[in-house]
């Protein structure tokens, strides 16, 4: 698209005279350009349409529609489960899985140098390999031994305690 066309559209955009279609054209055009590659007349406005695009990215969690339907009280008829057999085999399966997970929970410290990660207010951490990648659901220890762990927890508790007290003071002073 011609730079002139876009500039003309923009001028009408600022006057709030563009149609929804024209605005879609603008947005689409800008989204196809790489930031930093545009004419100085147009470059500043790349961020504008990028911002609007970003803001439409917020989405509800998965299964939103199902939750709505449940809440509204419209539920699809579900086949009735074969109660007794289903319960036994399902329970057995979960049991096997759970035992497996339990045994797999690491009791060894993570391999490689331990990284004393940053707690606000501490000196910069000793450099080391970054903490081993972990899934959110399992907590893998940062520290090798309970003394180090206690020191970190203690430090963090003091920080939290300090700020908590500041807050409480502010409240009682009102």
């Amino acid at each position: 698209m011609e730079k002139a066309v876009i500039l003309a559209l923009l001028e009408r955009y600022w006057r709030a005279e563009t149609t929804v279609e024209e605005e879609k054209t603008l947005a689409a055009w800008f989204s196809e350009q790489a930031p930093g590659s545009l004419d100085p007349d147009l470059e500043p406005y790349h961020a504008l349409f990028a911002y609007f695009d970003e803001e439409t990215q917020v989405t509800p969690g998965p299964g939103f529609e199902a939750r709505i339907l449940e809440r509204v009280g419209i539920s699809e008829p579900r086949p009735v489960r074969q109660f007794q057999w289903g319960l036994v085999s399902a329970a057995a399966a979960v049991l096997v899985l759970a035992i497996g997970l339990f045994l797999l929970t690491p009791s060894e410290p993570p391999a490689g140098p331990v990284s004393a990660a940053r707690i606000p207010g501490t000196r910069s951490p000793a450099t080391g390999t970054p903490a081993t990648p972990t899934t959110a659901t399992r907590i893998t220890d940062t520290y090798d031994n309970p003394d180090q762990a206690l020191a970190a927890v203690r430090h963090a508790l003091l920080i939290a305690s300090n700020h908590l007290n500041e807050g409480r003071k502010q409240i009682t002073n009102k």
Binding site: A91, I119, P133, H163
Partner: protein
């Protein structure tokens, strides 16, 4: 037989599901692998090991507080603290986490949230944005706020100096 199986299942899955229980696991899991973030974790197992160390030199309030904790996690980053602070608030389930106290300074913002059932507090969550960065801190366990408050007051003068010097860095 079926019933025993079921009870065993529940018991075992409950134990290993501990770690999912904190706010960091539930709402901020994606930051854990994010290279911009530093992570500190102390697991339930480590807390159990802690009970065996020498507590002689440690103040009683601290001992009682720590002995009642199950897990502890911190996520922090130096990048765009304000942005992360704002984003953090959008993710938390406010039905479960209620706001306790917010401390707002000129250059920083600390928000404390708790997860409780009735009068029992299960988790204390601190969300902080300051000049040196953004921090999420979660303590899971049997939380006594008054005891935690006293920890800072208990600290001796030398300890206070150390903390101040560290912050000034």
């Amino acid at each position: 037989m079926k019933r025993i199986l079921l009870i065993l299942t529940i018991a075992i899955t409950a134990t290993s599901a501990f770690a999912q229980d904190d706010a960091i696991g539930r709402f901020f899991g994606k930051y854990i692998d994010d290279p911009r973030f530093t992570v500190v974790s102390v697991s339930p197992r480590m807390f159990r090991l802690m009970s065996k160390i020498n507590w002689d030199t440690i103040p009683s309030d601290l001992k009682q507080t720590v002995s009642r904790l199950q897990s502890f996690r911190v996520l922090s980053t130096e990048t765009t603290p304000g942005v992360f602070f704002r984003e953090a608030l959008t993710r938390i389930d406010r039905k479960e986490y209620e706001e306790l106290i917010t401390v707002r300074g000129n250059k920083d913002n600390f928000r404390f949230m708790i997860r409780a059932t009735g009068n029992t507090i299960h988790e204390l969550l601190m969300i902080a944005a300051a000049e040196d960065g953004f921090t999420l801190m979660s303590f899971v366990g049997d939380i006594d706020l008054d005891k935690i408050s006293r920890l800072a007051a208990d600290m001796d003068i030398k300890g206070m100096e150390n903390l101040k010097n560290a912050k000034r860095k």
